[in-house]
C-alpha cells in the first residue's frame, strides 16, 4: 500500500515540475518577445534623439551610449538655434523652424476643431434622427461620408492645386485646413456616432419633456456627456493632420509650409547634416511622442470606436 502511494506520488510531482518548467519557459518567451518588440519600437527614436547630440565622428563610428561612448554636445540643437547658448540670440534657422512649427499647429488644430464641429453635428443627427435624402437613408449617408476615406490624396491633389490657384488659397493655412478637415471628417463622424449611440436616447426624451428644443437638448445635455469621445476624435485628428505630408508638399511653397515639408526638404540636400537633421526630426516628433505617452487612453479609445461591436 505504502509502495503504491509512493510510486503514485512521484509521477504526479514530476508532472507538476514539468508543468512549472513549461510555464516558466512560456513566461520567458512572452517577456522575451515583448522586450524585443519594445526595442524595435524604441530604438529608432532613441537613435534619433541621441544623434542630435553627436558630433560627426560619433556618428560615423556608430557610437550609441552617451557619456560612455561619446560626449554629448548641443551640436544639432545649436544648428537649429535651440541650444542653451544660442536660444537668446537671433537665428535664421530657428525663425524658420518656429514658423513651420506654428503653421503645423495652426493647421492641425484648426482642421481638427472644424472636423470636430462638423462631424459631431452630423454624427448626432445620424445617431438620433431618420433622414431621407432622395434615395439615401441614414446608412447610405453614413456610407457616403465614410467612402471619402478611400479617396487617395493624389486624386484630389491636382484638382485642388488648380482650384486653389483660382481661389487664391494656394500656400495659405486656410487652404490646408479645409483639406485636412476633409481627410479626418470621416474618422470623426465614425468615432462620434459610436459615442452618441452609447448615450441612451431616454436622456434626449427627458430633455424634450423638460421643454428643451432639439438643439437645446443636444448642447446642454448630450454634448457634455460626449466629451471623452470628442477628446479621442480630436487627438486622433491632430495626429493625422500633424503628420500629413502629401498635400502640404504640393500646395504650400513659402508661407504655409508645415513641419513635415521642412523635414523632407532638408533630406534632399546632399551631404546631410546628421546632427541638425536629427534635432529637426526630434523636434518634429516630440509633441506627438509626448501626446502618445500621456493621452494613450484617448487614442486607443478613438481607434477602437465601434470595433468591439
Amino acid at each position: 500500500m505504502t509502495i503504491l502511494t509512493a510510486s503514485a506520488a512521484t509521477p504526479a510531482k514530476r508532472h507538476h515540475a514539468a508543468l512549472r518548467a513549461k510555464r516558466i519557459v512560456g513566461r520567458v518567451l512572452i517577456y522575451g518577445a515583448l522586450i524585443v518588440w519594445a526595442f524595435i519600437c524604441l530604438f529608432p527614436i532613441y537613435w534619433t534623439v541621441t544623434t542630435s547630440f553627436k558630433s560627426a565622428v560619433d556618428v560615423t563610428q556608430g557610437h550609441l551610449i552617451p557619456w560612455l561612448d561619446f560626449q554629448p554636445d548641443w551640436k544639432g540643437w545649436r544648428s537649429l538655434g535651440l541650444s542653451p547658448d544660442t536660444i537668446l540670440g537671433t537665428s535664421n534657422p530657428r525663425e524658420e523652424f518656429m514658423s513651420r512649427f506654428g503653421n503645423s499647429i495652426v493647421t492641425s488644430v484648426g482642421a481638427s476643431l472644424l472636423a470636430l464641429v462638423l462631424g459631431s453635428l452630423a454624427a448626432y443627427g445620424l445617431s438620433r434622427f431618420r433622414y431621407k435624402f432622395a434615395w439615401m437613408r441614414n446608412d447610405d449617408i453614413l456610407f457616403f461620408f465614410m467612402s471619402q476615406l478611400i479617396l487617395p490624396p493624389v486624386v484630389l491633389a491636382l484638382p485642388f492645386l488648380v482650384l486653389y490657384k483660382a481661389l487664391a488659397l494656394l500656400d495659405t493655412r486656410f487652404g490646408l485646413i479645409l483639406l485636412y478637415t476633409l481627410t479626418v471628417l470621416p474618422i470623426v463622424i465614425w468615432i462620434m456616432r459610436d459615442q452618441f449611440n452609447a448615450i441612451p436616447v431616454e436622456l434626449d426624451e427627458a430633455a424634450f419633456v423638460d421643454g428643451l428644443s432639439v438643439w437645446g437638448a443636444f448642447i446642454r445635455i448630450i454634448l457634455p456627456l460626449a466629451v471623452p469621445g470628442m477628446v479621442a476624435a480630436f487627438i486622433l485628428s491632430l495626429v493625422l493632420c500633424w503628420n500629413e505630408y502629401f498635400f502640404a508638399a504640393l500646395l504650400t511653397s513659402t508661407d504655409a509650409k508645415t513641419l513635415p515639408v521642412m523635414v523632407a526638404s532638408q533630406t534632399g540636400s546632399q551631404g546631410i547634416n546628421w546632427w541638425s537633421m536629427a534635432a529637426l526630426s526630434t523636434a518634429a516628433i516630440a509633441p506627438l511622442v509626448v501626446a502618445g505617452i500621456f493621452l494613450e487612453r484617448y487614442i486607443v479609445s478613438g481607434l477602437t470606436a465601434g470595433a468591439g461591436k
Binding site: 515583448l34 534619433t48 544623434t51 556608430g62 505630408y245 504640393l250 502618445g292 494613450e296 468591439g308
Partner: protein, 370 residues
C-alpha cells in the same frame, strides 16, 4: 371649456398664418441667395473667359456666395419645415462641406483628366478626350507601380500576422501591460516623413547606420538596403509596417478583450492546447474584427506615398514606386497636370472596383463561417 375652443381655434389660425409667412420668407431668402450665387458665378465665368471686363480678380467671391447660399439653405429648411428643418441642420454643414470639398473637386478632376495640360508648356490646356487614359496603357512605369502596389497590399497580411501576435502578447497575463502598450503604440504617432529620415536615411545608412553595422556583423558583407529591387521593396515595406502595425494591433487587442472568457475556458476544459484553442476558437471569433481592420489597413496602404517619396523617390529603377509617389513625380518633375490626374482617376476607379469586390467577398465569407 366651451369658451376656450374658439380661442384655441383662433390661435391655431394665427399660428398657421405665421407659419405660412415664415415659409414664404424662407423661400424668398433662398431664392435671393440662389440668384446671387448664379449671378456671381456667371460674372466670374464670363470674366475669366474674357467676355466681359468687369469681374473679380480671383474666384474667392464664389466661395463666399456658396457659404451664404449654404446658410440660407439651412434657414429655408428651418422656416419651411420647422422641427424637421432643425433636425436637418445637424447634417447639413457636413454635407455641404463634403460636396464643396470632395464631390466638386473630384468631378473637376475628371474634367482635368480629359485635358492635355502641361503647366510648363506655353500653350494652355487643350481638350484631349480619353487620350490620357489610352496613354497610360502604354506607360510601363505606371503598370510597374501598380504591380508594386499588389506587393504592398499583399504585405498587409504579414503586418496582420505580426500585429495579431503582439495583440495576443499584450492580452496575456503580463506585468507592465500599460508600459508595453504605450511603447508599442509610439511608432504610429510618428510622421512618415520623420520616419523616412530616422530609419530610411539614418538607421539603414550604408556606411555607418546601426542596422547596416549589425547586418555586417551577422555576415551580410554588403548591407545595401536600397540597391537591389527586392531588398529595397522589403525595406520600404518594413518601414511602413513599423508605422502601421500599432494600429492593427490596437484594434485586434480591443477585439480580444471583448471576447467572452467562457468560450476559451470551455475549450480548455475540452482539453484543447494553446494552438488548438487559438486556431479553433480565438481566430474564428476574431474574424469579423480582422476583416474590418484588414480592409481599413488596405485602404490606407493604397495611399502609401510619403515614405517612398522621401527615401527612394521610387528607385532603384521604379522598384519601390507606389502609384501615388509615381503621380507625385509626374506632377513635380514634369508638371503634367492633365496626365497625372488621368492616372489618379484611373487608379481611383481601380480602387473602387477592388474594394467593392473585397467587401462583397468578405461579407459572403463571414456569413459562411459564422
Amino acid at each position: 371649456m366651451h369658451q376656450s375652443l374658439p380661442i384655441a381655434d383662433d390661435r391655431h389660425r394665427k399660428n398657421a398664418r405665421q407659419r405660412a409667412r415664415q415659409a414664404n420668407l424662407g423661400r424668398v431668402l433662398f431664392l435671393i441667395a440662389s440668384l446671387a450665387f448664379v449671378v456671381v458665378l456667371l460674372i466670374q465665368v464670363l470674366h475669366a473667359s474674357g467676355a466681359i471686363a468687369t469681374g473679380f480678380s480671383d474666384w474667392r467671391p464664389v466661395l463666399y456666395v456658396y457659404l451664404v447660399w449654404g446658410i440660407t439653405f439651412g434657414l429655408r429648411q428651418v422656416l419651411l419645415h420647422g422641427e424637421r428643418g432643425w433636425r436637418a441642420l445637424f447634417l447639413l454643414p457636413a454635407v455641404l462641406f463634403t460636396v464643396a470639398v470632395v464631390i466638386f473637386p473630384t468631378l473637376f478632376g475628371f474634367y482635368i483628366a480629359s485635358l492635355d495640360w502641361n503647366l510648363s508648356s506655353l500653350d494652355g490646356p487643350r481638350f484631349y478626350g480619353l487620350g490620357n487614359i489610352i496613354g497610360l496603357f502604354h506607360d510601363t512605369y505606371y503598370w510597374n507601380a501598380l504591380r508594386n502596389m499588389v506587393f504592398y497590399t499583399l504585405a498587409v497580411l504579414g503586418e496582420y500576422a505580426v500585429a495579431f501576435g503582439l495583440a495576443l502578447l499584450l492580452n496575456a497575463d503580463i506585468r507592465g501591460r500599460k508600459f508595453f502598450r504605450i511603447v508599442f503604440l509610439l511608432p504610429m504617432m510618428l510622421s512618415p516623413v520623420a520616419v523616412s529620415w530616422m530609419i530610411g536615411k539614418s538607421l539603414l545608412e550604408y556606411r555607418f547606420g546601426p542596422a547596416a553595422t549589425l547586418a555586417r556583423n551577422l555576415g551580410w558583407d554588403n548591407p545595401a538596403f536600397f540597391a537591389s529591387p527586392w531588398i529595397a521593396r522589403l525595406s520600404i515595406e518594413a518601414m511602413d509596417a513599423w508605422v502601421s502595425i500599432p494600429f492593427i494591433m490596437i484594434i485586434l487587442l480591443a477585439g480580444l478583450q471583448a471576447m467572452p472568457k467562457e468560450v476559451l475556458e470551455a475549450a480548455k476544459v475540452d482539453g484543447a492546447n494553446g494552438w488548438q484553442s487559438f486556431w479553433h476558437v480565438t481566430f474564428p471569433l476574431m474574424l469579423p474584427v480582422s476583416i474590418t481592420v484588414l480592409i481599413i489597413r488596405i485602404i490606407f496602404k493604397l495611399k502609401l506615398a510619403d515614405i517612398v517619396i522621401n527615401v527612394t523617390a521610387g528607385g532603384p529603377g521604379g522598384a519601390t514606386d507606389t502609384v501615388s509617389s509615381f503621380i507625385y513625380r509626374v506632377y513635380r518633375d514634369r508638371s503634367n497636370v492633365g496626365y497625372g490626374t488621368g492616372l489618379a482617376m484611373f487608379y481611383l476607379l481601380l480602387i473602387i472596383v477592388l474594394l467593392s469586390l473585397l467587401m462583397r467577398l468578405s461579407h459572403r465569407w463571414t456569413q459562411k463561417v459564422t
